[in-house]
């Protein structure tokens, strides 16, 4: 079951995700600044921020519990593992047999549970407010994401991500109407899950609008660095899921060493385009009130269910 190529691509995927995730965040920020006619921070700015945070000491609230201190590591570990599961370079990933699409959603939910609990731990008004809003977004976005993945699973009759990517990549080019619905739903879910406009704004500390930032207000130093890094990883993971489902071309099959090398620049280009589109969406839309978020996510959920129905009715 274990092959040399599998191990190599497994480590390559993991290392690439962990090391490059902050750069994707930097790229999105850069694009957004250009689109908004501001002068952009450098591509490496997130790394500078992380280094700064890692060097600073941690200032911990008096009543912070051990859960609060261990949560950043748990969240980082969960998201790094999630990044290692999604087949971005090659479909021969040893960890893919350990966790399928449902486990991936479970892993993301586990990270969310920890971050929400950590938000409630110090017992500030902002923390519990953020946790509640995060869980609100989560309980609507999670089933929608699962339904998007199920649509792909029904097409490839497998929940294993590698099989899904293989089936979607190596079929003749047909546009599945179900995947079109799923694509819209997935875009909406990713915007919400990554604390992006129109659901949340990563660049604000205004209490009426923030979700993610409210939860992590009490974190500082290395803990905050890990949380920020994990947030970048989450964006990276979601982008990779999107690429795996909707643009699965250029991913190496088993035993294809050349394909593995080619896949790296291809992935870079795809991520760059995806990041630019994300910045474009963020620039073109306005932040909506939190009360409208359930409507937005409910639409995403219904679209995802519709995608499954369309598959059963038209393509089954």
């Amino acid at each position: 079951m274990l092959s040399l190529q599998g191990l190599v691509s497994q480590f390559a995927v993991l290392a690439l995700a962990v090391l490059l995730a902050p750069m994707l965040t930097g790229w999105v920020n850069q694009c957004r600044a250009w689109l908004q006619n501001r002068s952009a921070p450098g591509l490496l700015q997130p790394y500078r921020v992380l280094t700064k945070l890692f060097s600073k000491e941690v200032v911990l609230a008096h009543n912070a519990s051990p859960l609060f201190r261990s949560a950043p590591y748990a969240i980082f570990g969960c998201l790094a593992l999630a990044a290692a599961i999604v087949p971005t370079l090659g479909t021969d990933l040893p960890l893919n047999a350990a966790a399928d699409a449902i486990a991936l959603v479970g892993l993301l939910a586990l990270a969310r549970l920890f971050i929400a609990l950590a938000g409630m731990d110090v017992g500030t008004a902002f923390g519990s407010l953020g946790a509640r809003r995060e869980m609100l977004v989560g309980f609507l976005a999670e089933p929608a994401l699962l339904m998007v993945l199920f649509t792909a699973s029904l097409i490839s009759s497998s929940t294993s991500l590698a099989t899904i990517v293989q089936t979607l990549a190596h079929r003749e080019f047909v546009i599945y109407p179900s995947m079109a619905f799923a694509g819209v739903a997935f875009t909406m879910v990713s915007l919400a899950e990554n604390a992006r406009i129109p659901v949340d704004n990563p660049a604000t500390h205004l209490e009426l609008t923030m979700i993610h930032e409210a939860m992590v207000l009490e974190y500082s130093g290395r803990h905050l660095a890990l949380i920020e890094w994990a947030a970048s990883l989450k964006l990276f993971v979601y982008s990779c899921i999107g690429l795996a489902l909707f643009l699965p071309f250029g991913v190496a099959g088993p035993g294809d060493w050349v394909g593995l090398l080619v896949a790296m620049p291809v992935l870079g280009v795809k991520l760059a385009v995806g990041g630019f589109l994300l910045a474009l969406i963020e620039t073109l839309s306005a932040k909506m009130r939190i009360f409208r978020a359930p409507e937005f996510l409910g639409t995403a959920f219904l679209l995802a269910v519709l995608a499954m129905l369309v598959h059963v009715l038209l393509e089954g």
């Binding site: 911990l60 047999a97 486990a103 409630m120 989560g138 339904m147 099989t163 409910g298």
Partner: protein
Amino acid sequence: MEIDPLQATLACAAAWLLIGFGGLLRPGSLVLSARVLFPAGAAIGLLIAVIAFTSLFRPPQALVLPLGLPDLPFHARLDALSAFFLLLLGAVSAGVSLFASGYLRRGEGTPPGLQCVYYHVFLASMALVLVADDAYFFMVAWETMALSSFFLVTSDHRHAEIRRAGYLYLLIAHVGAIAILLCFGALQAGTGDYTFATMRELQPDAGVATAAFLLALFGFGAKAGIVPLHVWLPEAHPAAPSPVSALMSAVMLKTAVYGLLRVTLDLIAFPLWWWGVIALALGLISALGGIVYAAVQTDMKRLLAYSSIENIGLIIAGFGLTLLFRGFGMGILAALALTATLYHCLNHAFFKSLLFLCTGSVLHSTRERSLGKLGGLIHRMPWVAWCALIGSVAIAGLPPLNGFVSEWLLLQAFLFTPGLPQAYLNMLVPVAAALVALTAALSGYVMVKFYGIVFLGQPREAKLAEAHDAGIWERAGLAWLAAMCIVLGLVPTTVIGLLDPITRALTGYGIGSAAHGWLFLAPLQPERASYSPLLFLAGTALLVALAWLSVRVFYHGRMRRAAPWDCGFPYQDARMQDSAEGFGQPVRQVFEPFFRIDQQVPAPLDERPAFREVHEDRLWYWLYLPVARAAEFVTTLVTVLQRGRISVYLTYSFATLLVLLLFVR
């Protein structure tokens, strides 16, 4: 020497009865009950679990007991299905009894000796329900179970609302019992022979079988708490002492699932596909309704009771899917759905009893059940808090713990449904899968609310500073249940291997032997889906350790304590945290049509502003109150018969006898 497992089980049940009545020797003595009898009961529980474990793979054994009425002896039988539920009963009750040893206190209503009697009679009757092999024995054990649990629920009978909860429980339990009795009546099909062996032989026609199924669904559904028969559950569970709530939720609800499986898949044996649709629909409604109601609760035990309705809903949905596949003759898929159902029964038994016991410790230590008056207990009660975290992650259905495995299996079963031969069902089943996913996600929300408000944050009351951690007995019980939650999550292939004989007996197929290697759980084909919790846990642990180590090696571990930052706001106190109502507000808003909301908002210039909001179950007004009014109306008609003179009543009896004789002769 070969020990007969069935006789050993019956002996264990007798031992439980004996231990229980031992409490009567000195009813007031706490030492006798708590330090001797309850630990002995826990040992018997473990023994039953071991016996059941060994008899899972044996052929069924039957026995006629020299007990019962003349010409109507008790029949007992132990097959794989009974053994599985006995295993569940034994293993869970061991933990709960250990906990109860430390939990019993003097001066809370019923004296400890009597509680010991009820408790062990309850355990023994559940064991007998599981081995009963004729309708008569089954009903005797079933009613003993209902009555003993009624007395346990009303342990604290000095409070009027607890008596009311007990009454409601008794009422619905008996309406259900009548339906079960009628179901057996339909199944014996006029032969007058009420043994299960005869019922298995008979092939009832579709009409009779359908009637029996619907009666069973109603009767066992009332016990399991399927919507709309769930109303007793959120009343009775908070009223009962915590070990009793744990047993009722974890085991008693499962005896109802056992009854449903026994009747539909064993006694009838050939279910029609559309029964599955009914069960699936009811299950999904219960699951979604249960979790939505759980999200808005402010009492921690009520919250858990509603979450039990949700989990039973998932179990019944899995059962419905089993019937659906079985009805269409898709045996291997029926086996998959049945495996998911049974696995979820086992998981729910462990994590729900764990969480109920945690609320018991919190209740004893703080005298507070309302979420709005708790908080910050992770500092004062670390043992309970960490065990509760394991339970919460498990019940939220997150990997790598046990709740995830059964939900994973259930979703896999749903993903196979496009192969069904019915076009309309094909369309509906994706919607059903979406509802399961929504329920699972909502249970994560509910668990963050439960755990975050009880154990995290700042204490909301001054007296919480005196809270103390659980004692040694309580810790032992909690640790056992928490450990089982982890083990059941990490070795799914072994557990599925244990479920194999049951699915083979009930559906003719098994997926245990199809598991590919001990490491990977792959229910049908490995390329279709596989999951390995051990590798999953190892991967996460490795990455977490790596992150921790590299931060220490490349940077530093310096840390300083300070006041919370909170955006620089200095006057913040415990009351500014989210309350339980506040945390439930988004769910209340999204699912507004589910509730009957009564809201009182203060006027703008009110001197003493007050805000009050009550949300109730709409079913009370749509279903229960009309039924109650109708019953009241009928009873006023019947009062015409009441004359208050004994001679008139004797005449009635005489007339009734005459009429009955006419029928019988």
